[in-house]
């Protein structure tokens, strides 16, 4: 287990073993967004791959957006989950140099949650329209006019209504 090497990285605040049978992963790390590239580099050397990267909109209870990274080995299963909490407006740091696969995961988090990633090659929307305004997976997301006639209204103008509704 490489937990000792990981916790040596400056930004990592806590590492805790987890009961694999109940939780499905081996250990949980709390890390600051800045320390992610360093962690990713360690995982990269030790033959881990990025299983997925997602975000949790926890602005309601403890006022932060929590990024969830998950790494795993490809030969013997050893799953590490990293929670990295961001203030609502703050941006994470991209790990697409170490894992080019993260490029799309980060674009999806940006598209769905609005969390930016500095250092990302081309941070565009991944799943929704390029000119879509608003981030759908946020808890307080309101689609101004869900079934608008797709052609009659220009997406830009309609987007402004979306923006207003979300303020």
């Amino acid at each position: 287990m490489i937990t000792d090497e990981l916790s040596a990285v400056p930004g990592v605040s806590s590492t805790s073993e987890q009961d694999y049978a109940a939780k499905g992963y081996h250990c949980l790390h709390e890390a600051s967004p800045g320390s992610l590239p360093a962690l990713a580099a360690i995982f990269r050397q030790r033959g881990f791959h990025l299983e997925h990267l997602t975000c949790l909109d926890m602005r309601a209870d403890d006022d932060c957006m929590c990024l969830v990274y998950q790494f795993n080995r490809q030969d013997v299963p050893e799953r590490h989950v990293i929670h990295s909490r961001l203030a609502p407006g703050e941006a994470g740091t991209s790990i697409s140099e170490q894992f080019i696969g993260a490029d799309w995961y980060e674009r999806e988090v940006f598209d769905m949650f609005g969390v930016g990633f500095d250092g990302h090659p081309n941070l565009l929307r991944l799943l929704t329209d390029d000119d879509y305004i608003g981030h759908p997976l946020l808890k307080d997301f309101v689609d101004a006019d869900p079934q608008r006639d797709v052609f009659a209204v220009d997406a830009k103008k309609d987007g402004v209504a979306n923006e207003a509704a979300n303020e």
Partner: protein, 172 residues
């Protein structure tokens, strides 16, 4: 559906072009009905059932509709098989415009009728219903509809064509 045939005359009267070769019109309509070339155009799960209809057991080619044309220029009927996402709607509109008249549209599956299993308040990603973007001729319910249902949908479209329905006119 025997009575569908004898109301052809009234339908043709409604059209009312100057010169009416009704016998030729009927002949052409029967030809069009019996050689519907669908556009290869699968969106989601229903596309797999559309392929199953083209395969050996249900064999769409028996009624002359087995020639799946990839290019919209040579297709007569657009079978919308699957969920229409908000990002895909303009593409479907362009494809529909590229198809030469007379053309028809079959909305296959719950998603193309009114959003199907993905219809809920606050659904931001899909267009709930194909008739919001293109005029639809035949609706085939089911999620996904069984191949027999799509086959019946095509036969229903054939009856509609034989009764002299040139193609859906855009209302707006």
């Amino acid at each position: 559906m025997a009575e569908a045939h004898d109301n052809t005359e009234e339908l043709l009267e409604q059209l009312g072009p100057l010169v009416h070769l009704s016998k030729l019109e009927t002949l052409l309509n029967h030809a069009r009905a019996n050689s519907l070339w669908p556009l290869t155009f699968g969106l989601a799960c229903c596309a797999i059932e559309m392929m199953a209809v083209g395969a050996s057991r249900f064999d769409l080619d028996r009624i002359g509709a087995g020639v799946f044309r990839p290019s919209a220029r040579q297709a007569d009927v657009m079978i919308l098989a699957g969920t229409i996402s908000r990002k895909m709607a303009p593409v479907i509109q362009t494809l529909w415009d590229q198809m030469p008249a007379p053309k028809w549209a079959i909305a296959m599956g719950g998603c193309t009728i009114d959003g199907g299993p993905f219809k809920y308040p606050g659904q931001y990603a899909i267009v709930e219903g194909a008739d919001k973007i293109i005029p639809v001729d035949v609706y085939v319910p089911g999620c996904p509809p069984r191949p027999e249902a799509l086959f019946a949908g095509l036969l229903k479209l054939e009856e509609k064509i034989k009764a002299g329905r040139k193609g859906p006119e855009m209302v707006n």
